[in-house]
Amino acid sequence: MSALPLRTVLRVAWRSLFIQAGYSPDAMQTLGLLYALAPAWRHLYDTDEARNAAVRRHLSTFNTHPYTAAALVGGILHYELKLARGEATVEDIARFKSTLMGPLAALGDGFFWLSLRPATGAVGVALVPVLGVWAPVVFLFLYNVVHFVARAWLFAVGLRSGAALVTRVKSLRVPTWSDRLRSISALTAAGTGAWLTVRFGAALHGAASEALDAATDVPEPTSARAVLGAAMACLVLGALGVALVERKVQPLAVLYGAAALAVVLGVLW
């Protein structure tokens, strides 16, 4: 069996975007894996028995990060091709999957979920004062440039090199990038919180805030005293919020606590 047709490879890559569609607690992403690999079987194996055996090989639980799953799907194709040529064994495929599922999940979680997404999300939110409705577009662009390039690259490297993809991924120094991205997230999230306080807290002293429909155009902050008051409130509330969350207080309780404090102050003022 020679290489797979490009159209089939592209169909598998496209279908890998649905890796979590049929997620369930026991089988996890197994259904998604079966769906992704389905177009390849007729090109890889000539008989129904061989195709059936191939599908059965992949009925065991499969779970990893949805983006790094691209590397595993590509790698599985790599080994299935070798198996069809008689250059690999069924055990090679099982070993490849079971060895790399966990580490690739940890890599994807750490980089995409805990670093890139918070950083680009925080930057997107911080750009709202400058770009308004275009800020979400910038966020989508920043995130997806990395996301789609990574997914395509991981699939291609998995398909070309199988387990050797580990060396390629290691050379990217992902943990270093993760730390930098987390710093961006902390810096910009706090800045946005401060902006919200000044923009809406310092501005809303007067009668405009005492009617539900009155503040159609949110007034601009006018005095340095109002800004200074809002700044102090922001720093105290922000520091308290961070301290509470780091002491395992539920974020929802912190959110409601801040709102309750503001409502009480509004009523008593």
């Binding site: 997620y23 369930s24 710093s183 810096l187 310092a202 539900l212 503040a215 503001a262 409502v263």
Partner: protein
């Protein structure tokens, strides 16, 4: 609130619920994006943008790690934006910070409710895996593969309906809130930036950055100094 607006909200809510986990995951379902588009669809961009901002910060540190899933971030964002826009539409003017605050307060727990629903739908998806195994046993490999897509429709329907219900509740909530005393309305107006700060603090704590306290202080201080120098940021 017209039937068309409710249908559009249901469609968008269902689509982004699918995008969040079942397909693509290109972050169209993140609160900032999903809520802003919802606001655009209902003709009140401000409600989408400002409700989305707070929920984006609030859910910034949440992540699906291994088999553990975080609270649903898309449902409260789209429902909150739809509710705030519904209130704005009922008032005949653009939505206000008090409306955003009220919508956030009501819709924030939807994150937990959305997670509960997700778990229920995940358990329901077991039957599709069973069908895939049966189809494989009978040699029908195409049918086995197709089961993956079958699990998507309940998510689309349930999350879409919940978002439409939130939009429909907006006008009733507006009628109720109009009867609030002025002092309470002032408090709700202040609650919006207060929740923004709290959400920012939650994001800082959830960032797990090595020097997050110093960085957060620097970020907040820079913004506040800029505000003092310019007399307020627009």
């Amino acid at each position: 609130m017209t039937w068309t607006q409710l249908a559009v909200t249901a469609l968008w809510g269902g689509l982004v619920a699918l995008e969040r986990r079942a397909f693509l995951q290109a972050m169209l379902s993140r609160p900032l994006v999903a809520a802003t588009v919802e606001g655009l669809l209902l003709g009140d961009v401000a409600s989408g943008l400002y409700v989305g901002m707070v929920f984006e910060l609030f859910f910034l540190g949440g992540a699906s790690l291994g088999g553990a899933h975080p609270d649903h971030d898309t449902l409260p964002a789209v429902a909150g934006a739809a509710m705030a826009a519904g209130m704005g539409l009922a008032s005949g003017v653009e939505s206000t910070p008090a409306m955003w605050a009220l919508s956030i307060l009501i819709c924030a727990p939807f994150g937990r409710a959305g997670l509960w629903l997700e778990h229920r739908l995940d358990r329901r998806a077991r039957k599709y895996f069973g069908r895939a195994v049966t189809a494989t046993d009978s040699g029908n490999l195409d049918k086995a593969a197709r089961q993956n897509l079958r699990a998507m429709w309940p998510q689309f329907v349930f999350y879409g309906l919940l978002c439409a219900a939130a939009a429909a509740a907006g006008p009733s909530l507006h009628a109720l809130a109009k009867g609030f005393p002025p002092s309470l309305l002032r408090g709700l107006t202040w609650a919006y930036p207060a929740m923004g700060v709290a959400a920012g603090a939650i994001a800082v704590a959830g960032s797990h950055a090595p020097k997050r306290h110093a960085l957060a202080l620097a970020g907040a201080a820079l913004t506040l100094v800029a505000a003092l120098v310019t007399g307020g940021l627009s």
